[in-house]
C-alpha cells in the first residue's frame, strides 16, 4: 500500500506580529485542505511538529490546540518533537499511521512562533535542542555548536571561508523567487564575509533566521490519492538518532544520524543518491549543507564543497538543493520539515517557482539539534 501527499499549504515565513501560533497553524491547515479539495471532516488524524511552544509562548498540548482551532475535534491529535526535526518526524509518524491501517487521511503540520520572545530569548530556547546539562548550561548556543563543527571540518579538509559562503549565496538566490520566503534578496560572498560574526567562524549570513511560520500537508492512502490530480508518493522514510551532545559524537565532521536515515530511505525506496533529482537539505548553518551533501551520499567525505563550486547544487546543476532558499530564508523550527516536503511536492508536480526540469524523485532531509535526530524522506511523482 502506498501513501501520497494530496494537498499542501504554508504561511509566509517571517515576523508575524499580528498572528499567534494558533492563527498560523490554522491558516496553513486550511490552505492544505483547500489544495486537496477536502474539508476538515474528511481528516481522521492530525500530527503537528513543534519544537518549543512551551518556552516560546508558554503553550503545550499542541495537538489539542491545532484540532480545536481547526474545528477538527474529536479526531486523534499528536504533537511530535525532535527539535528542528519536529516537522520531519511528524511527517514520518503521519505516514506510518496510514501504513498501519489505522488512518486514511491525515493532516500533518508544523509550526513555530518564535518572535514573541525576541532574539536573546530565542537563542536560549533553541539551546534546548542540545544537552541542557553540559552544553546549554555553559552558554553553548546553536550557532556555537555548528561553529565547532565548521572549524573542525575546515581544519580537517581545508575548506576556505569563501567556499563555505557559497551556501548562503546559492540559497539566497534561490529564495528570491519563493513567495513564502522571509528574505528575498541576493547575497554575495563579500556580503557574507562582511556580516557580523555570530560564533567564529560563522557569520550572520551563515545562520538561519528567527522565524514565525506554519506549513501543512494532507497525506492519504493510495485509493484516495488516486482520485486527486498529481499525488506525490512517499517512496521511503528514514529516521535515525545519535548522541544528544556534540562532544559525545564519534566524529565532529559528519552527522551519523543523517547517514543512517538516508540509508533507510534509499533502501526502502530502492533509490541511490544519483537517482535524486532535487533535494531539500537542512542548512540551519552553512556548514550543515556541505556536511549534508556527504551524509546523503551526494559527495565523498571532505569533497562536499565541489558541488557548490561546480554549481551542481544550483539551478541547472545535476542535483539542485534548497530550490526554495532552504532554511536561510526562513526556519520556523517545527514547520521546517514540512515546508521542505512541500517544496519537493511542488517540484514533483512541476509547480515550483524554481522548477527543476523533469524532476521525478526528490529528497527532504531534516535534522534535529546538532545531529541527534535525522529524518530523510524520498518522494516520487509516479
Amino acid at each position: 500500500m502506498r501513501v501520497a501527499v494530496i494537498g499542501v499549504g504554508q504561511t509566509k515565513m517571517g515576523e508575524h506580529w499580528s498572528k499567534s501560533l494558533r492563527d498560523l497553524s490554522t491558516e496553513a491547515g486550511a490552505m492544505a485542505l483547500k489544495s486537496a479539495g477536502l474539508t476538515a471532516t474528511d481528516v481522521d488524524g492530525l500530527f503537528i511538529g513543534n519544537m518549543s511552544a512551551g518556552r516560546f509562548v508558554g503553550q503545550e498540548h499542541l495537538g489539542a490546540l491545532a484540532v480545536d482551532h481547526a474545528g477538527m475535534t474529536p479526531i486523534p491529535a499528536t504533537r511530535c518533537e525532535a527539535a528542528c526535526a519536529s516537522g520531519g518526524l511528524a511527517f514520518r509518524k503521519a505516514y506510518l499511521s496510514i501504513l498501519s491501517g489505522h488512518h486514511k487521511i491525515v493532516m500533518v503540520g508544523g509550526s513555530e512562533k518564535m518572535t514573541d520572545l525576541g532574539a536573546t530569548g530565542s537563542v536560549g530556547t533553541l539551546m534546548g535542542a542540545g544537552d541542557q546539562e553540559w552544553e546549554s548550561s555553559i552558554g553553548l548556543t546553536f550557532p556555537g555548536l555548528y561553529a565547532l563543527m565548521a572549524r573542525a571540518y575546515m581544519e580537517r579538509y581545508g575548506l576556505q571561508r569563501d567556499e563555505l559562503s557559497l551556501v548562503p549565496v546559492k540559497n539566497h538566490t534561490h529564495g528570491i523567487k519563493n513567495p513564502y520566503a522571509q528574505f528575498r534578496f541576493p547575497v554575495s560572498v563579500q556580503d557574507v564575509s562582511r556580516s557580523p560574526l555570530v560564533a567564529d567562524p560563522l557569520r550572520l549570513l551563515d545562520c538561519s533566521p528567527i522565524t514565525d511560520g506554519a506549513a501543512a500537508i494532507i497525506l492519504a492512502t493510495e485509493d484516495i490519492a488516486r482520485r486527486v490530480d498529481r499525488p506525490v508518493w512517499v517512496a521511503g522514510s528514514g529516521q535515525a538518532s545519535d548522541t544528544l551532545a556534540l562532544h559525545d559524537r564519534d566524529d565532529l565532521c559528519r552527522l551519523g544520524a543523517s547517514e543512517k536515515a538516508a540509508q533507510m530511505a534509499y533502501s526502502q525506496s530502492g533509490m541511490k543518491p544519483e537517482d535524486i533529482d532535487v533535494a531539500e537539505v537542512h542548512d540551519c548553518f552553512s556548514i550543515a549543507e556541505i556536511i549534508a551533501y556527504e551524509d546523503l551520499g551526494f559527495a565523498k567525505r571532505g569533497k562536499g564543497k565541489q558541488l557548490l563550486i561546480n554549481k551542481d547544487t544550483s539551478m541547472g546543476g545535476s542535483i539542485p538543493t534548497n530550490t526554495d532558499g532552504g532554511l536561510k530564508v526562513g526556519h520556523p523550527v517545527g514547520a521546517t520539515g514540512i515546508k521542505q516536503i512541500i517544496e519537493i511536492t511542488r517540484q514533483l508536480r512541476g509547480e515550483a517557482p524554481n522548477q527543476v526540469k523533469g524532476a521525478k524523485i526528490g529528497l527532504a532531509h531534516n535534522v534535529g539539534g546538532s545531529g541527534a535526530t535525522a529524518l530523510v524522506h524520498i518522494l516520487r511523482s509516479d
Partner: protein, 136 residues
Amino acid sequence: MTHRSSVPLYWRLQKAKYTLVGTQCITCKSLYFPPRSVCPKCRSKGFTKQHKFTPSGMVATHTVIRAPPEGFESMAPYSIAIIKLDEGPLISGLVVDAPDKIATGKRVGAVFRKISEDGKDGIIHYGLKWKLDESV
C-alpha cells in the same frame, strides 16, 4: 521561574562540574565524562561507578560566542572549545584565554570559575573552565 532558577537542577551536578567526577562501566571499563549511569555499549550489563578524571586535555575544536543567550550577556564574547580529556572523553568547556591564543591541539588545564548566575538575587553557578597550559 524557569529551569535556570532551579537550585536542585544545578546542585545534583556539582560533583561532576566542580571536580570532573564521571563514571566508568563496571563491565567493559569504558570511561564516561559527562557521567552516564548506563554504559551505552554494555547497556543492561553496563552499570557504572564513579571515576574522577584528571583535569587536563587538548583543544579539539573551538569557537567564540558573540550572540549570547540569557544569563551570558555580560560574559560575551566568550570562547568555548570541545576538549579531549587525556583519559579519552570529549567535553564542551568555556576557555578563559583570549580567542586569538586558542588553537586546535593546544593543551589545557582546568580552573574554577563562575559559570553563570540566576540574576542578582538567585544562586551563583560555579564550575570548571579551561585555560591554556602555556599561560600561568
